[in-house]
């Protein structure tokens, strides 16, 4: 049986950063990557704009990944390529079943595991998109992979449902490859993508964005022929006589990303219904001791830089855990999402195992605001405030709590108050 101290599942942005920050001690580390190359989804993101926070530069996805991959090589961190984890169990240690064309089935024993398995794209079925089911409807990320990795276009007349960043990026990318992108429909009254992507990918190419609109019919027996979009009311019900019809051969879906953690259901880690992934404490440890999680597998990020930062954290805390080889009995208290906050990561603070003097919260809001104030509340008392401008659900926010300012080991609430 193969053995390692730390197994990192996934060699994308999160896994790479986690591996690097966990390295540098006597601990053995093994990164498990299902593709034959490291970098994960960054490899198909050939546009630039990555790394502004990490490197103060604008890099393409592959360039960004390469910075980490080179460091990984320098540190001699072991990687298993073309290998998929198909089962994971926990007894005293973690037992992972791996499969690959080269080594076949094998078992790996690990003392700690970091989940860095990324996310998958929400599908047509999951949102019960009405209409027929011809070919020509696919997640935007799948089309991106076909285009940027394989070198093929999936269609010539395109409509995009959902204003997620991948959809926006693909609107521009397919236009540059000679396809005609007729529009983007977003069911929410605001865009779900970054502002810079709305400007650079839609506005610059005169591609219309239909806010508060969704696809209400799809026509085509074998091949997609036509879609209908309609405006929706506040309950997301289509409004009659607002139909717009587009003759297209392709409908790309950019309707959300979901952490890809189905594999870990066998470990029965506690999950959040909002993020659809694990509940973690400030060390990014799940409810299963020794099991850490980071990146889009934990919650979907807007920028890869934040994924890397979170990966670094997971690596650091997994290393601390392995070197100490124990944790104190837990005293976990919730960090509750209050007014206008959709979720907060970490979901809990384990007061008995705090190793830093501050905890940084990452979170998403539920409402677009020109300006507002984030408030950290404990026992009804505001203990910290942060003013912010241009707050939007599409962009991840963060706030650092200084633990010395906390008055007790009680739950904390994070709220947002709109400045009118």
């Amino acid at each position: 049986m193969k053995k390692t101290d730390l197994a990192i599942i996934g060699g994308g942005a999160a896994g790479l950063a986690a591996a690097l920050s966990a390295s540098g001690s006597s601990l053995s580390i093994l990164v498990i990557e299902r593709e034959k190359v490291l970098g994960g989804i960054l490899n198909q993101c050939i546009h630039n704009g990555f790394g502004l926070h990490m490197f103060k530069e604008e890099l393409t996805g592959p360039e960004y990944a390469n910075r980490f991959i080179e460091d990984l090589r320098r540190e001699n961190i072991d990687v298993l390529y073309g290998t998929t984890v198909i089962d994971i169990q926990k007894k005293d240690t973690f037992l992972l079943t791996l499969t690959s064309e080269v080594h076949g089935y094998e078992t790996l024993e690990a003392k700690a595991v970091i989940i860095a398995s990324g996310c998958y794209e929400r599908t047509r079925g999951a949102v019960q998109l009405p209409g027929e089911r011809p070919k020509g409807i696919m997640p935007a990320g799948s089309a991106q992979r076909y285009l940027n990795i394989d070198g093929y276009l999936v269609g010539k007349k395109v409509f995009i449902l959902g204003s997620g960043d991948i959809g926006l990026i693909m609107a521009r990318r397919m236009t540059l490859e000679g396809a005609k992108v007729l529009g983007v429909a977003e069911i929410m009254p605001y865009s779900n993508g970054l502002t810079r992507n709305i400007v650079q990918c839609l506005n610059d190419y005169d591609i219309p964005l239909f806010l508060s609109h969704t696809v209400t019919d799809i026509k085509g027996k074998n091949t997609l022929e036509q879609i209908t979009i309609q405006q929706v009311d506040e309950q997301f019900n289509p409004i009659i006589n607002t139909e717009k019809v587009f003759d297209v051969d392709t409908l790309l879906l950019s309707i959300g990303l979901i952490p890809d953690v189905a594999l870990f259901d066998s470990l029965k880690m506690k999950k959040s219904p909002i993020t659809k992934s694990a509940i973690v404490d400030q060390s990014l440890m799940t409810s299963v001791e020794g099991l850490f999680i980071c990146g889009n597998a934990l919650h979907v990020h807007d920028l890869v830089d934040w994924v890397s930062k979170e990966g670094e954290k997971a690596g650091k805390y997994a290393k601390q855990y392995l070197l100490a080889n124990r944790i104190n009995p837990k005293n976990s208290k919730a960090i509750v999402p209050g007014d206008h906050i959709r979720y907060v990561v970490p979901h809990e603070i384990d007061f008995n195992n705090v190793t830093d003097d501050s905890v940084t919260l990452s979170f998403r809001v539920t409402k677009k605001m020109a300006s507002g104030t984030f408030k950290v509340i404990q026992n009804g008392e505001v203990i910290q405030m942060k003013k912010a401008k241009y707050i939007a659900p599409a962009e991840m926010e963060s706030l650092t709590i200084k633990l010395e300012e906390l008055k007790s080991f009680d739950p904390i609430t994070l709220s947002l108050e709109e400045t009118l």
Binding site: H103, M138, V154, K221, D265
Partner: protein, 480 residues
């Protein structure tokens, strides 16, 4: 010249073809689509009903009860999956209990085995998520669930092994009768000559009949929408759950599936388009609304897929299984709506032995067994390791959600019943049938098909002919 051409490779056509392949006759089964079983057989509830519902004395009742038993033989011979779930028809209050009792009497008259009426309490002991409002239930222990298109594909595979042939993309557009035989004209300009024709064309069986006569039946297509829960829902419901039937059909059901998924549906709406497979917002609301009577704890957030099927309901009140009055050797097996899947093996027996009157002894060479490897992920760990050592392609996981390996994709492509399309592979190997719906593996499957069939990537179809996923190489690639 064929002795028999079977038009349609759905569950009816495929099982008739297999039954014919037992005898010394030359048989061809054709389908207008790019695959076996592309319409009603791929989009239905997958239930092997016990026979409680059809009208007493009808062919539907007779063939349903008999067909249910025959599936046990098909399981052994064709190695098809069969989940022995049993079923409950649930009643809610006194008025429905009366109707339930009538249904019980009908089940007895139809000679459905092992039926009984149980209390609401007992029903909830068997299936704890059932609604508290349910007061009584009709228990139907012989109800089973299968994987319908796999039955059709395996039946044709077995028939081919025994000498039959299969031709896809064979769309009949007219039929000519001469003194000794029929000539079928296909859309591609080719013809097929046969002494006899068996019309098992499902929703289009009236169209096929009309090529030679004014048919006695007309298909009045009825659409049913369905919703599929991820296989994480396995174990939430143990039995098939039916409401009381109405004139429109058996109602909205909860059906545990052989791979762990749970099927919710169908709706029942008359449509004009025989291949109208759209789902609607209204359909989804209808299903949600009607399921409340069965259970209030259905996890709709676990829906991964929607689909719709069209039943070949006809103006004739029973299955229409007759020889043409005008044209000897032209047989119609039409109007096969529910319980058609269940009845199919009994219909195949009836057609071959009674209608065609083939009583000759079996071919000595007939082999009833169709072997199919078990899903790799279901094998014991030691067997998996051994197989991977012998063939590393078993080690390359392609579909992560359903745990499907590269070798299983390769197996689905090749062989006489293989298929070279994305959906064809999904039907055979289940790659893309899981939570991410092929978001990750579709591109990998596409490349394996291209490699195995030695075709360019732009010629690999989603399903029907001329439905390539990749339509054009990019500028960069063109230059190279």
């Amino acid at each position: 010249m064929y002795d028999y051409v079977v038009i349609g490779s759905g569950i009816i056509g495929s099982l008739i073809t297999r039954e014919l392949s037992k005898y010394a006759v030359k048989v061809l089964v054709i389908d207008k689509e790019n695959d076996i079983a592309s319409h009603q057989t791929t989009a239905n509830s997958a239930i092997i009903h016990s026979g409680h519902d059809p009208k007493v004395g009808s062919l539907k009742a007779k063939f349903c009860v008999l067909g249910n038993k025959l599936y046990d033989d098909l399981e052994k011979e064709l190695n098809i999956p069969l989940l022995r779930t049993g079923a409950l028809v649930v009643a809610n209050g006194k008025k429905e209990e009366t109707a339930l009792d009538e249904l019980y009497q009908r089940a007895l008259k139809n000679e459905v085995p092992e039926v009984s009426i149980i209390s609401g309490e007992e029903a909830r002991t068997l299936d704890p998520l059932l609604s508290k409002d349910i007061t009584k239930a009709l228990s139907l222990p012989t109800t089973k669930v299968t994987y319908p298109w796999e039955v059709a594909i395996s039946a044709i595979g077995n028939a081919i092994k025994n000498g039959a042939s299969f031709k896809r993309n064979a769309h009949v557009i007219s039929i000519e009768k001469n003194s000794t035989h029929y000539v079928l004209h296909l859309k591609d300009g080719s013809t097929i000559a046969s002494k006899n024709i068996i019309n098992a064309a499902g929703v289009n069986s009236d169209v096929i009949a009309s090529y030679l006569e004014e048919p006695e039946f007309k298909i009045t297509p009825r659409k049913g929408e369905y919703y599929v829960l991820d296989r994480k829902a396995v174990g939430l419901f143990h039995q098939v759950i039916y409401p009381l039937p109405t004139d429109a059909g058996k109602g909205v059901l909860i059906v545990p599936q052989v791979h762990g998924n749970v099927l919710l549906g169908p709706t029942s709406t008359l449509v004009e388009d025989k291949e109208c497979y759209s789902n609607t917002k209204e359909g989804f609301s209808y299903i949600k609304q009607h399921l409340k009577r069965l259970s209030k704890e259905i996890p709709f957030d676990m829906i991964i897929r929607t689909f719709a099927g069209v039943r070949a309901t006809s103006t004739y009140e029973d299955f229409y299984i007759k020889e043409s009055k005008l044209h000897k050797g032209f047989y119609h097996v039409a109007g096969i709506d529910s319980p058609g899947l269940t009845a199919a093996p009994a219909i195949a027996n009836y057609v071959v032995h009674e209608l065609l009157n083939i009583q000759a002894p079996l071919k000595t060479a007939f082999d009833p067994i169709f072997q199919k490897p078990k899903p790799f992920h279901s094998l014991p760990f030691e067997t998996q390791q051994k197989l991977v050592r012998e063939n590393p392609k078993y080690g390359n996981l392609i579909c992560k959600c359903e745990k499907i390996t590269e070798q299983e994709i390769i197996d689905a492509i090749h062989g006489p019943t293989g298929n070279d399309t994305i959906k064809g592979i999904k039907k055979r190997a289940r790659a893309g049938a899981g939570l991410c719906q092929g978001g990750y593996c579709e591109g990998l499957v596409l490349k394996i098909i291209a490699r195995e069939t030695n075709k360019p990537l732009t010629e690999i179809n989603y399903y029907a002919s001329d439905t390539p996923i990749l339509v054009k190489e990019t500028k960069t690639n063109e230059k190279n």
